[in-house]
Amino acid sequence: MPVDLRAKLGHVELPNPIMTASGCAGAGRELAQFMDVSKIGAIVTKSVMLSPRSGRATPRMAETPCGMLNSIGLQGPGIDAFLQRDLPWLLSRGARAVVSIAGASVAEYAGLATRLSDAAGVTAIEVNISCPNVEHRGQVFACDPAASAAVIEAVRGRARYDIPVFAKLSPDVTDIVAIAKACVSAGADGLSMINTLLGMAIDTDTMRPQLAGLTGGLSGPAIRPVAVRCIWQVREALPGVPIIGMGGVRTGRDALELILAGASMVSVGTTIFHDPSACMRVLRELEEELTARGVERLADVVGLAHQARGMAGQTLRRSTRIRGS
């Protein structure tokens, strides 16, 4: 019997939990050459801003052990072009669109939420308050509970009531639970974890930083343990809040790890860069991993690692038996 992979993005049901990670899949169009974008849970689009943005100078990336640094700086055509071109395309393909938004001020986020409320076909909004590639750390809202709350409150207040709002958090904070709580209190329907970690690389031949922007966001399997830890901590503190997990997911087993930590959905990011159809592979592998463990419903294993030692397996067996009877 196939595994029931349905996942809940707030009150919205998705056919399965695998999504693209924001900034790693554009608006889905390029990936559509290699996979059917309607087959995964959702396409999380590259963060869109109110106005067009050129991004940072090149070099914009550096490969690091099991990871990469990127310093794109939110290059994009702005919300008008997104609504005119990208969103309708995603809908025409039967894909579910989780729209990531980014702004330099609370007012910009509010403006973006308003624009999205007038648009058809937005499955959810992911509020990127944690992009590290901005001029100064003070602009990273997710480093401060009050600033995070102000943005989320503005977005939740403007967004249509039936569109779930997820806050994307940065792992580069002392206490991610405090930020998570502030976002949930401000009205976030869920949380996305984690954005990239601020990192840096220096070319030992030129003896200069490798990135034109000096620092960049670290992603890839190198950061997966950080993602697992963040998801674990927040799930422990806020067990009822849905989490989209991301950070170094390369295989179905990696996705399962994040799910066991507490993620209801999982985004695949950097892996797409060397495997454009990675989302479909991760989805297939996740189903295989669940089948191999006798799991019938994905929902049964979300946060399962939080069970007391020895209980996880029992809980699973019991729930399976109950449904079986």
Binding site: G23, C24, A25, G26, R29, E30, L31, A32, Q33, F34, K46, S51, P52, R53, S54, G55, R56, A57, T58, P59, R60, M61, E63, P65, C66, G67, M68, N70, I72, Q75, G76, P77, G78, W89, A212, G220, P221, T270, T271, I272, F273, H274, D275, P276, S277
Partner: protein
């Protein structure tokens, strides 16, 4: 980009390619992969992107290489040339026959082909010459004359010198150490080669400084340049936004364009070579760009009057040309070679009248 273009049958595919051969070619390696679906879709100038290091690799970025050649044997093979620069390319050099690689392609916008039989000069720096030989074959099919101008640091780094001599109407080689051909760099010989070959159009692939100089020199003769850039890429398919460079669109607006999908082939005049590695202040989306861009557009207005005929083809910066329709301008690049309206959407840096007259 237009939906119809990227969704076209001719789009790239991701396949498992079996290694047929890996061989040393002077300072380089050439690998042949069995990949029929890629071979069938290939057009000269396009590239492939390879995952390196196996399933548990610590190297997450794909490696991009120009396709050198495709052949019909084994259902369709793809050959590419590479130099060992780091661990990823070292891993590729260690592959053996029957190894299987995850390969995606053909990617990018190919070289546009002229409609008429014109004199083509193909310029390659280092193993940047690799994609030029398949192009040369296509050009000869169209009864174009093909001259080669190849250069590198030393003789063992000039890729394809023999093939160039055997198949080109002429082949000029330069090396910086003088070990093969003339001592110097390709641009030292460019004037002479253009004169001797009565060049109508230039195709070039190699390092950025070479492409910049070739474009600048060709501009003096009003010869269009199709330049294939070598920019660092993480994905090769258009999603990572790392391989951008400032390119002027047909509307006169500079955009940070992706060399993987908007290129790798650009019209030389449209690339702001001197601004690579920066965000020009008038680039689309730069702080305050609109005012600056408008000023530049006003300055260019007079020049654009003559250009609107060729408007839709100068698409590099604005919208990538689809893989199915590489040459947007039905006249082909050769037709604009001399005296025609400027094919790009911007004002030349100096007086245009002088430049046009200079060509003859």
């Amino acid at each position: 980009m237009m939906l119809s273009e990227i969704d076209a049958q001719a789009g790239p595919v991701q396949v498992r390619g079996t290694v047929l051969t890996v061989r040393r070619v002077d300072a380089y390696y050439a690998m042949t992969l069995v990949a029929p679906a890629i071979a069938a879709r290939f057009k000269p100038g396009q590239f492939i992107s390879l995952a390196v290091g196996g399933p548990d690799t610590s190297m997450l970025l794909s490696r991009a290489f120009s396709i050198h050649d495709v052949r019909p044997d084994h259902g369709g093979t793809v050959e590419y040339v590479f130099a060992v620069h780091g661990r990823g390319t070292q891993w590729l050099a260690e592959r053996r026959a029957r190894d299987v690689l995850d390969v995606t392609g053909p990617l990018g916008r190919p070289f546009p082909l002229p409609r008429d039989p014109v004199n083509c000069l193909l310029i390659g720096g280092g193993y940047g010459s690799a994609p030029l030989f398949a192009l040369a074959a296509k050009l000869r099919e169209r009864r174009c004359e093909v001259d080669f101008l190849l250069g590198a640091g030393s003789g063992d780094r000039v890729f394809g010198a023999l093939t160039a001599r055997r198949t080109g109407r002429s082949a000029t080689i330069t090396t910086q150490d003088g070990s093969l051909g003339a001592r110097g760099v390709v641009t030292d010989m460019l004037d002479q080669v253009i004169h001797d070959g009565r060049t109508d159009v230039i195709y070039a692939c190699g390092p950025m400084p070479m492409l910049r100089q070739v474009t600048a020199l060709a501009r003096r003769y009003d010869i269009p340049v199709q330049a294939a850039v070598e920019e660092a890429m993480a994905c090769g398919i258009g999603v990572c936004m790392t391989c951008v460079l400032p390119v002027i669109g047909s509307d006169g607006i500079t955009r940070m364009s992706r060399s993987c999908v908007d290129g790798p082939v650009f019209r030389g005049e449209q690339v702001r070579w001197d601004d690579i590695g920066t965000i020009p202040s008038d680039a689309f989306g730069a702080p305050g760009w609109e005012t600056r861009s408008r000023q530049a557009a006003l300055a260019a207005q007079g020049e654009r009057q003559v250009e609107h005929r060729s408007g839709p083809q100068a698409q590099n910066g604005a919208e990538p040309a689809g893989q199915g329709q590489p040459a947007r301008d039905p006249r082909g690049p050769g037709r604009e070679a001399r005296g025609a309206g400027r094919p790009d959407g911007r004002a030349p840096r100096g007086s245009s009248s002088g430049r046009r007259g200079h060509a003859g």
